[in-house]
């Protein structure tokens, strides 16, 4: 029997055709049917020592939920996932599975891994569309109050865990809408905002209070929250500081950080301008600097906004591109060009201050650097000009100092990220925990959620036992 299973090909995910989807904002993969999901689930060998689980940062019991799915018990399957992962509809869509669960799957060694992400997504979508909407039981109220600052995946996880454990939880979010990067960063065509809204709504139904327009450090300070009777505070404020290249001409009109570009497009829905009030620059020849998920998202957004040409400009080679493989593949299918081993050196504008071109230099790979990747080195005299009217800078992000500056007793590392104990999430300030991108630097949704779970357990102990 196992032999037969090994040969079955991975069930492909149905998708909108590239020619069509590259001009609309609807989700690209359209999801498995029940039949497809069960067919794919049947490929799993139900390993006794499942390597896939080791690859998942929160250790979802992958063979366990897949088994329930094969048996047709979809209600039990999703509940099984929820016990370790509160946001499977999100993770199934955005986790870099090829280096996590699927990368470790035994079948990956000899062919194609089980499509774990697709199956997780299927279970969550099925429950959302057909489930009873029943809430999990919550423990008796303890009367203790917890403030969760930031409503990204990390904060949402903490809120969900602690409300179930009986504490009163209030999420405070600086933006006018909750969800963090899930709403302002990751585009609609990769993660429909309706899904995030439903996850937040689920927490609200459990009793979590969500207060938007609350900028911790400005509208309210951490010490004031303690004065108001909060017993513990979790900081999940993300890595919201855009990096620029610091090269001449960077303040010309037409050069935006990916944060700004994607916030306009996603949070402010500027792709519907003028139906909504926030505009977004409509580039004809667009260059995106960087090659991570953020860069792919920006490039594919530009394509959907009608660009004639979209280029990813990256100083290393294809092997070093940090984006999920699926996103790179999708981007190329949509006609996005890869300009590898190329680095911008300055921007050129016209008399009205608008960007018209970018001067670049060719790079080659030298000796490995600290990160173990071969260091890109400029090739002397290889400068050339590239015509462009919109550059989106997606070369990383740093720690936003707004909150930490206003909280001097919070210890930071040399890059400005909050120091937190990895086992508990505790910071140097009593009663304050932190996790997610503000501790690790820009990472992934599932790592931010994992940090949230660790902190929630520690906060629960602290509120219950005082340690």
């Amino acid at each position: 029997m196992p032999n037969k299973k090994k040969k079955a090909a991975r069930v492909p995910m149905p998708e909108q055709a590239p020619e069509i989807r590259k001009r609309n904002f609807e989700e690209v993969p359209t999801g498995y049917t029940v039949k497809m999901a069960q067919q794919e689930a049947a490929r799993c060998l139900q390993c006794k020592k499942p390597a896939c689980v080791d690859g998942c940062p929160v250790e979802v019991d992958i063979p366990g939920f897949i088994n329930l799915l094969t048996e047709g018990d979809l209600t039990a399957a999703i509940r099984h996932i929820w016990s370790t992962n509160a946001l499977p509809a999100v993770c199934g869509r955005v986790c870099p599975q090829e280096i996590q669960c699927e990368g470790k799957c035994i079948l990956a060694k000899r062919g194609e891994a089980v499509a774990i992400g697709n199956l997780e997504r299927f279970c969550a979508d099925y429950e959302r569309e057909n489930g009873t909407g029943a809430l999990p039981p919550t423990q008796a109220r303890t009367g203790k109050k917890v403030a969760v600052v930031g409503s990204g995946p990390s904060g949402l996880t903490v809120a969900g865990d602690l409300i179930i454990k009986g504490h009163d939880v209030t999420i405070m979010e600086a933006f006018h809408k909750p969800g963090g990067v899930l709403v302002y960063g990751i585009p609609e065509f990769r993660l429909p905002k309706e899904i995030v809204a439903q996850e937040v709504n689920f927490l609200e139904r459990l009793g979590v209070k969500v207060e938007c327009n609350m900028v911790a450090g400005r509208t309210v300070s951490l010490d004031e929250l303690f004065e108001q009777g909060y017993g513990a505070i979790y900081l999940g404020v993300g890595a919201g500081l855009p990096s620029f290249m610091n090269i001449p001409g960077e303040n010309l009109i037409g050069i935006l950080s990916a944060n700004e570009y994607l916030t306009r497009a996603n949070l402010m829905k500027a792709y519907k301008f003028p139906e909504v009030d926030t505009p977004i620059p409509m580039g004809k020849k667009v260059c995106v600097l960087g090659a991570g998920n953020v860069a792919m998202d920006a490039a594919r957004t530009a394509m959907r906004l009608g660009a004639e040409q979209v280029r990813i400009v990256y100083r290393r080679s294809r092997d070093e591109m940090p984006a999920r493989k699926a996103e790179i593949h999708h981007a190329e299918e949509e006609g996005i060009e890869m300009f590898l081993l190329t680095n911008p050196v300055r921007y050129i504008g016209d008399e009205s201050g608008r960007l018209t071109a970018m001067e670049c230099i060719k790079m080659e790979l030298g000796e490995p650097d600290d990160s173990g990747r071969r260091r890109p080195v400029a090739i002397k005299g290889s400068e050339f000009e590239m015509e462009t009217d919109l550059v989106i800078v997606a070369v990383g992000s740093g720690a936003n100092p707004l909150l930490t500056k206003s909280t001097p007793d919070l210890a930071l590392n040399k890059w400005g990220y909050i120091e937190a104990d990895l086992e508990t999430g505790k910071t140097s300030k009593k009663g304050v925990w932190a996790g997610g991108d503000i501790v690790t630097g820009a990472a992934t949704v599932i790592l931010a959620m994992g940090a949230g779970r660790v902190a929630a357990n520690s906060i629960h102990k602290y509120l219950t036992w005082g340690w």
Binding site: A174, M214, T219, S257, N259, R264, P274, T278, P279, P281
Partner: protein
Amino acid sequence: MFNIVKREEMAEGTVILNEIQAPLIAAKAKPGQFVILKANEDGERIPLTMADTNPEKGTITIIYMVVGKSTALFKDLKVGQGYQDVIGPLGKPTHIEKTGKVLCVGGGTGVAVLHPITRAMKEAGNHVICVIGSRNKGLLILEDKMKSASHDLRICTDDGSYGHHGFVTDIVKEVLEKQSIKQVVAIGPVPMMKAVCNITKQFNIPTLVSLNPIMIDGTGMCGGCRVTVGNETKFACVDGPEFDGLQVNFDELTLRLKAYCDEEKNCYEDYCRLTD
């Protein structure tokens, strides 16, 4: 919802005052800080400086000029209605200290932003001279308030319909020549601030200006509000909005403010057609 408790039209209906219920912000705000407002679900996030706050009543006051679609939408909001979102207080408060003689210069709606700063400068024990200007008498705002916030108020209009006939810079020059001013504060349209700084530069007097680049989040997250000050890039929403005017690259700011000019113009015209 952040309710409007008081609404006034000023400067022949081109400038609107709203007093808004926002107790958390009112309790914290200091002169020079701003809020970001969004009227409804699909609205734009618009930064406006607080012209006043009343912590006891839990209200903040904004005064804005109707220049485009979003401010036109704000203008249509009546008492009892409100803004879906108000975020703040944002930006650094004005650095107020006793230096001796201070000259405060305001143009257009900049006078609204200047008012709480002027008042605080006087309360800090400075002798405050004030110059405010507008295109004509009808467009002048807050004359009475500025009178009581300062020791000496001078007024000018471009067309001579009230006060001195000419620009605020004429008076600035005259005052600087005759008196020993320790600090200048200039808030108004970018060309006005630039012109004032060109004069104060000659006298080498520290000059505070309040910059108004295009913003989105107001928390240092997007970098859309970048301005060049002393050859360094700064984010106006967190590093400002007030900067040393002698160091500011006003020409770059002027260009950057036009980034969405065409889009905004069409959008505003459509809105006016719809509501006419």
